[in-house]
Amino acid sequence: MIEIDGLTKRYGDKTAVDRLSFVVEPGVVTGFLGPNGAGKSTTMRMIAGLDRPTSGTVRVNGKHYPGAAAPMSELGILLDARSVHPGLSARNNLLALARTAGIGRRRVDEVIDLAGLAEVAGTRAGGFSLGMGQRLGVAAALLGQPQTVVLDEPVNGLDPDGVRWIRLLLKSLAAEGRTVFVSSHLMSEMAQTATRLVVLGRGRLISETSVEDFTSHAAAGGVLVRTPETARLGQVLAAPGVTVINDGTDLLRVSGTTAEQIGTAAWRAHLPVYELTPTHASLEEAFMQVTQDSIEYHAGATR
């Protein structure tokens, strides 16, 4: 479990993380979403005790992590693919970390196999591709069989095989009762992997919710209605808060009301309806909507 309370980090007069409070529960995969510069990596560094909070607290499994007696059993973290020594082989990078907790070579070889690095274990990590570096970083995070796993953008640079591997891995870690907290800018990836979501924008908490709620509450969802009487049905449905869009075909895209209400209204007005499909906003759309105001660097911004 990760408990974050009033967490703030300032670099000079720039506030990277602003009074952040949320809890990451064990047993499920929690996604950490936010545009670039939202403060995700800073938050993760503070969880690992690498950056000192300006104010506020972080507790990992109920404890202050830097004071943990057996840190590797508490927290495993992947910060970025280049937290390795390029002059050391994959195996020696892992072995150096393992030694601090008295973890033996057998476990090191286990995570090497688990991460699919067996063939390159003796090769210097400096020559690794981004994807192999990610696999090495994930192997390092799992080395101590930690109760809590924190991964910053683990699918970055991975091939489809690797992406599937991460997805299954995260789910099975959660199924073992571990706390799994994973950041990503790939919203679609989160939709397939995460159960809970923490959404960040400009260092502030925007939303702490389930993936389901997050998508369904976003207003971008709507109902697709196929009818030969597009104009008349549009008039019937017109009401404050309801938007009806017709692109010139026999399709209406209606938002602000439900499929039940549309069906009933059409039946009362004796208008034929051939199709009535509620659509959910994709997580991506929902995310864009929720974070629109907080995106710090708009593409093509003039300021």
Binding site: R45, A48, G49, L50, D51, R52, Y65, P66, G67, A68, A69, A70, P71, M72, S73, L75, I77, L79, D80, R82, S83, V84, H85, P86, G87, L88, S89, N92, N93, L95, A96, L97, A98, R99, T100, A101, G102, I103, G104, R107, E110, D113, L114, A140, L142, L143, G144, Q145, P146, Q147, L168, L169, S172, L173, A175, E176
Partner: protein, 274 residues
């Protein structure tokens, strides 16, 4: 248990990770130092510089004769000239041991598994000192025997380890290099950048002593207290002319620099974001 098997994690109900102890962190740091090629290259060049240069000096020029003005210890110091260059190699190893981790980002992985941080610094001090002391001592002893054998074969005075100041000079050169590697390490930890660490190290151990040596003596009263001069008295650094300190007092001053710098490094490591 089936879920555990499914991910390939060890089928142990609990974690494999034990408590962090100083001994374990020392083993971790030794794993890194031993596996880095730079360690072996630097070790090899230290051997070549000390032993090779000593033999070359003994084999050239006029054979050394011990007299009232030329003590046996001074003759040994001359054969240890390679220490002057080996200190640069040793300093590089020291600086890189920390700055290399900051430069590559490995420091974040290192400190994430040892979040109390200070054991990492102590472990690096222990493994570096534990490597440099025996290696350079062996170099100095081998250098002593080869250089004196060459000298006496060419008609110079026979010098024994038991002659006044000789053993202190031989052992002192190794002690000097051991403290120098710790100063390099502390500079690497304080400055974090390899270029900055090496520049400051080279300035303190090469540039400043030479510049100060060229200045009028009236304004260079501090010269004996420069790290290389203070520590140089112990092994008779041929460049050290201002011998205001006794050998062991000079060495104590050098150790003082190492303690202060390591203390600052510890303070910075604890306080600053990684």
């Amino acid at each position: 248990m089936t879920a555990v098997m499914a991910t390939g994690l060890a089928p142990a109900p609990t974690t494999v990770a034990g408590e962090v102890t100083q001994v374990r962190v020392v083993r971790a740091e030794w794993t890194k130092l031993r596996a880095l090629r730079s360690t072996w290259w630097c070790g090899l060049s230290a051997v070549v510089l000390i032993v090779g240069l000593g033999a070359a000096i003994a084999g050239s020029g006029t054979p050394y004769h011990v007299s009232a003005g030329n003590s046996a210890a001074t003759g040994v110091s001359a054969a240890l000239l390679g220490v002057l260059f080996a200190q640069l190699v040793v300093g590089v190893v020291g600086v890189l041991t920390f700055s290399g981790e900051y430069g590559t980002g490995m420091i974040r992985a290192t400190l994430a598994v040892v979040p109390s941080r200070l054991p990492v610094l102590w472990a690096k001090v222990i493994v570096l000192a534990g490597l440099v002391l025996p290696v350079t001592l062996l170099c100095a002893v081998v250098d002593f025997f080869t250089a004196t054998a060459i000298e006496s074969s060419r008609g110079g005075s026979a010098i024994a380890l038991t002659d006044p100041g000789v053993l202190r000079t031989v052992v002192g050169s190794s002690l000097y290099l051991t403290v120098v590697v710790i100063i390099g390490l502390a500079l690497g930890a304080l400055l974090r950048k390899t270029a900055a660490g090496l520049s400051v190290f080279a300035a303190v151990f090469f540039v400043v002593p030479i510049v100060v040596g060229a200045l009028p003596h009236t304004i260079t009263g501090f010269a004996p207290y420069l790290p290389s001069n203070a520590g140089g008295v112990l092994w008779g650094n041929p460049l050290t002319t201002a011998h205001a300190l006794s050998p062991w007092a000079g060495f104590a001053v050098l150790c003082g620099y190492a303690v202060v710098l390591t203390g600052l490094a510890a303070w910075r490591l604890r306080r600053r974001d990684a």
